[in-house]
């Protein structure tokens, strides 16, 4: 893996009136790295991702994408980023292939790339179906397909499997695993499913109340935490998974 940082987040803060959504976060995402921002609802994951996407502006701190700020480089950065927002609804009465052609045209892509993406996300059979007639899982696959159209250097997925049944969730994971194997795309994924972070990502950032509680590889996190806990609390055994680690850090479950 090329160790070049594609995204640098430096001491970023963001508030909405009295709510401090992100409190001084710093992150570095390397080329080809898959990172999970793991945390419960209200942890600040979406705000953080939206700032990286250029949709929100940080109150303070700095965000660099491929060494560039959003200001003055928006046109260029939009070309290399693919993203899927939480709960995006596409145009109901457009067909799957038409939706991909529409978004493909924004990147000057032809029908060939749209067909490739349909195959990649497994929607060939649904290519003539209206978006309104797709199931939740198929809609999520379409959102993922739209995000992958431009073969992005950076992929940002905000809770891509929330609300999906286990089968549909696994299908989305398969698509992302294939992407990891076949490309050098860097991924930031927000989730409150620990299995998703464990299965897909090689670096996990656990967040709550706008701050990073812990970060590292899965092994690092579970290994380090037991020692930390032994020092502070009476708890002696190491945490067996991320949910247990989260309980130890906050006293709450991830899905609360």
């Amino acid at each position: 893996m090329n160790q070049e940082a594609v995204i640098k987040v430096i001491n970023v803060q963001k508030s909405f009136k009295a709510v401090h959504a992100v409190r001084g976060m710093s992150l570095e995402i390397l080329n080809g790295q898959f990172i999970a921002l793991l945390g419960p609802n209200g942890a600040g994951k979406t705000t953080m991702v939206e700032m990286i996407e250029g949709i929100q502006k940080p109150d303070s701190g700095e965000i660099l994408i491929m060494g560039k700020h959003w200001k003055g480089n928006e046109k260029e950065l939009r070309r290399i980023i693919g993203l899927s927002l939480q709960e995006t609804r596409f145009i109901d009465k457009l067909r799957v292939c038409e939706t991909l052609r529409l978004f493909g045209s924004f990147f000057s892509l032809g029908p060939q790339r749209c067909s490739e993406v349909m195959e990649l996300v497994g929607l060939e059979e649904k290519k003539d179906a209206y978006v309104v007639n797709l199931s939740g899982g198929q809609r999520q696959k379409l959102a993922l397909g739209v995000a992958l159209l431009n073969k992005p250097r950076i992929l940002l997925l905000d809770e891509p499997t929330t609300g999906l049944d286990p089968q549909a969730r696994r299908e989305v994971w398969m698509i992302l695993k294939k992407l990891k194997d076949e490309s050098s795309t860097s991924l930031i994924l927000t989730t409150h499913y620990m299995e998703e972070a464990e299965q897909l990502c090689d670096y996990i950032v656990i967040m709550d109340h706008g701050t990073i509680l812990k970060e590292g590889t899965l092994q690092d996190l579970l290994g380090k935490s037991s020692a930390d806990i032994e020092k502070k609390d009476e708890y002696t055994g190491p945490p067996r998974n991320l949910d247990e680690l989260f309980i130890e850090l906050t006293g709450r479950h991830l899905n609360e």
Binding site: T88, K93, E98, R101, S105, F106, N150
Partner: protein
């Protein structure tokens, strides 16, 4: 060249808007079928002079039929003298039927129905009748709403007939020459108004609501997170909407021409220019209106806030000159009033470029001012 166009984002945005529009049956109904049905209904109601039936309540059965030995009442004498047929109605009451034929104004059948006061009031409230007759000490008393023009007309006709029964045989003492000057019928007034109202509704719901809905569904945010040009999004939306407005207006005109023989007496190119600037004005207002909110409920309210006053006041269905004179200068400044006045002047007064040049410039300015102001505060995310 063709390949370049068909691969461009503007082309695909236009295609997406067209597809979204034509695949929604409700849009086609409200945009095309509804105005045609409305013109048909109102046109038939107000244009075709058919024989009409007017019901009048007579309080007290004794005024329609008298007991043996009693003398006839004034109303009964009038009906008998004119050979009115008095017979029981379905509900058991008596009804005297008097037919007055008139080739020029259309025949009228007057039904004098015996009702008690309560029944008469119920019928009055339901709009079945607008005049109540009674007889007190041999004198006919008329009771009606003096502010209701229909009631006034019924009163004038009946009271005149009762004074001078000769009018029934020859209702018009003076000669009536029906006017057949093109453009003087109600339908000639109505159709241009409906076309203009269609432009306003179409822009408000098709542009304003569409933007707000896309924002509320986060689709707008998703689209601008790509290299899509923001201007292309709005240009495509407005272009498709204006093109659709031309189709809707064309179909309504075609229908009116076939059914009511409506013609355009002024300059067609001037009409196209003015209609286009009217569309630009409302598209600009629509963009301004939808520039900030992402809540469809608020959007609904804002759209109704613009639509309702103009629909009521701008003289679409009836002339705004019926409103108090102090309000007319303000009403004339509404964009819909300006558009309707201009389109009507071309349709029925024979206006051309000279007459609509200034109104066109005003409409264009309204559109640009609202569009630019809207863009300045436009919330893309």
């Amino acid at each position: 060249m063709i390949n370049r166009i068909t691969n461009s984002q503007l082309w695909h945005l236009i295609l997406a808007n067209v597809r979204e529009l034509i695949r929604e049956p409700a849009v086609l109904f409200w945009g095309i079928a509804f105005p045609i049905l409305m013109s048909l209904g109102l046109g038939v109601a107000f244009t075709k002079k058919k024989d009409v039936t007017v019901m009048v309540a007579v309080i007290g059965r004794e005024h329609l039929v008298h007991a043996p030995g009693d003398s006839a009442s004034v109303i009964q004498y009038f009906l008998e003298k004119n050979r009115a047929v008095i017979k029981p109605d379905k509900d058991g009451s008596l009804a005297g039927e008097l037919k007055v034929a008139d080739e020029k104004l259309g025949g009228t059948t007057y039904i004098f129905k015996d009702l008690n006061w309560k029944q008469a009031m119920v019928s009055l409230k339901r709009g079945n009748l607008n005049l109540v007759m009674d007889e007190i000490k041999g004198k006919v008393v008329y009771k009606f709403d003096p502010m209701n023009p229909d009631a006034q007309l019924t009163y004038l006709k009946i009271s005149k007939m009762m004074k001078d029964p000769e009018l029934i045989i020859r209702p018009s003492g003076s000669e009536i020459i029906p006017l057949d000057v093109t453009g003087t019928r109600y339908i000639d007034f109505l159709v241009p108004g409906l076309i203009c109202m269609g432009v306003m509704m179409s822009c408000m719901w098709g542009v304003s609501y569409d933007i707000i809905e896309k924002r509320s569904k986060k689709l707008l945010r998703r689209m601008v997170a790509t290299p899509m040009k923001h201007s292309n999004f709005l240009v495509a939306l407005i272009t498709v909407r204006i093109a659709m407005n031309f189709v809707e207006a064309g179909l309504l005109f075609l229908f009116s021409w076939m059914v009511f023989n409506i013609t355009i007496q002024g300059s067609v190119p001037a009409l196209i220019l003015f209609f286009t600037t009217g569309n630009i004005a409302f598209a600009g207002i629509a963009v301004f209106l939808s520039s900030h909110t992402s809540k469809t409920e608020i959007g609904n309210g804002l759209i109704n806030l613009v639509n309702m006053p103009m629909m009521v006041l701008s003289g679409i269905f009836f002339s705004y000159h019926n409103f108090p004179s102090w309000s007319i200068p303000a009403i004339q400044k509404f964009p819909l009033t300006m558009l309707a006045d201009g389109v009507r002047s071309i349709f029925i007064e024979g206006a051309g470029f000279r007459e609509i040049l200034i109104p066109s410039a005003i409409m264009l300015s309204i559109g640009l001012v609202f569009f630019i102001s809207g863009l300045k505060i436009f919330k893309w995310h």
